[in-house]
Symmetry: C2
Subunit: 229 residues, 2 copies
């Protein structure tokens, strides 16, 4: 295919690292990566995102936005991150770790950048299977964003690619391994701890760790993640 630019939303986690590898193998070039400092509980994932971008030769940008001032999520507030069982989906089926309108805010910034660099393609590592309770991880949402973006900007052929949306975590991991993703460089944990020597350990018990561990087990791939003992 003809070489064309793409923007990849990069969180530093397993999914977005795989989305980045898929964008590259699909022939998009140059690649631009976008990470958000949105008041999340820890910044380790931002460091991972920057390193993943460097390794892939992407042009990386980190945007600071403050979603904390609106409140409403265990990932940005003082609400306790659920441990050892998947988060209670609550009465409306949406877990407490859901951050209100997060993907919409993230994709909006990607769209603004896409207009300026004249890119028509944005990749996002959302997944409808493992995060079935998150409304902004569903394919119909992704399509609706695309439709809105085409009407609201110069990019009338804008595409949101969500190549992981129908994959299980195990399938994502297998695909990433095929593409050479080094998952040791990714961080999924909602509640990591830094050791005295600077090594960051995943808690092993939050939703993200549970899904990640299970994914590696199901994929039959050794899990390179360093968990708290």
């Amino acid at each position: 295919m003809k070489s064309r630019p793409a923007i990849v939303l990069l969180s530093g986690g397993l999914d977005s690292a795989t989305a980045l590898a898929i964008a590259r193998v699909s022939g998009y070039s140059p690649l631009y990566t976008l990470a958000f400092d949105y008041g999340q509980r820890h910044r380790y994932e931002l460091v991972r995102a920057r390193k993943l971008a460097e390794l892939s030769g992407a042009r990386h940008r980190q945007v600071t936005i403050d979603l904390r001032q609106f409140g409403g999520s265990a990932l940005t507030d003082d609400i306790e991150v659920p441990k050892d069982s998947l988060a209670d989906p609550g009465t409306d089926g949406i877990p407490v770790t859901y951050v209100p309108a997060r993907n919409t805010v993230f994709l909006s910034f990607a769209l603004a950048w896409a207009e300026v660099i004249e890119a028509d393609d944005v990749f996002i590592g959302v997944n409808a299977l493992d995060y079935s309770g998150y409304p902004d991880c569903r394919p119909e949402y992704v399509e609706a964003f695309e439709a809105m973006a085409r009407l609201g900007t110069r990019r009338t052929r804008f595409n949101v690619h969500a190549p992981l949306v129908h994959l299980t975590k195990a399938q994502i991991i297998r695909r990433g391994i095929e593409l050479g993703v080094d998952y040791a460089g990714t961080l999924s944990c909602y509640d990591p701890r830094e050791q005295d020597d600077g090594v960051v350990l995943s808690c092993g018990h939050c939703d993200a760790c549970i899904l990640r561990r299970r994914g590696f087990a199901e994929a039959g791939v050794a899990d390179p993640t360093m968990y708290v003992a």
Copy 2:
């Protein structure tokens, strides 16, 4: 109608001040107002937005986002603001004062806030007549945002109200005057100047000033704006 909360995007300009008055008279309560420090050339409009919110008893919030780092607009970059004739719509019909995906970014933050406060209604003062070159001021864009928002959040009945979308500037001004809007407290100018005594004067020659002046003239209402002599 039953009292219910609404968020109004408030820029400090004529249109959004009118949208706020319309939200109030429509019975929404409490009212929340949201302004953005997005790297625009001047901050005077943010001061006006805060004062307008105070006067109306709304709960005001100002969010800082940096759209400048993406570049691409005369309102945030060093591109010259066009004077004395409406901005050249360019080859694609979109003026240089268009800020890439601005309304999408603004509405996304409003949506995040709406989810947290459990509001289903956001007001935006976009206008398809005076700003016909801005893709994100068209009714079909507003509807597409609404559809996306309903799919991507808990707010499955979310509404974006654009009460000015089909009005001329003169009609907006007449409606605002009926509702008691004090337009002396609003600022539309893209390139205002502050006098030594702290009074802020509108340039009178940018697109926004031209449309505003014309609007007051057509409405047959005295223009309370203080322009540079």
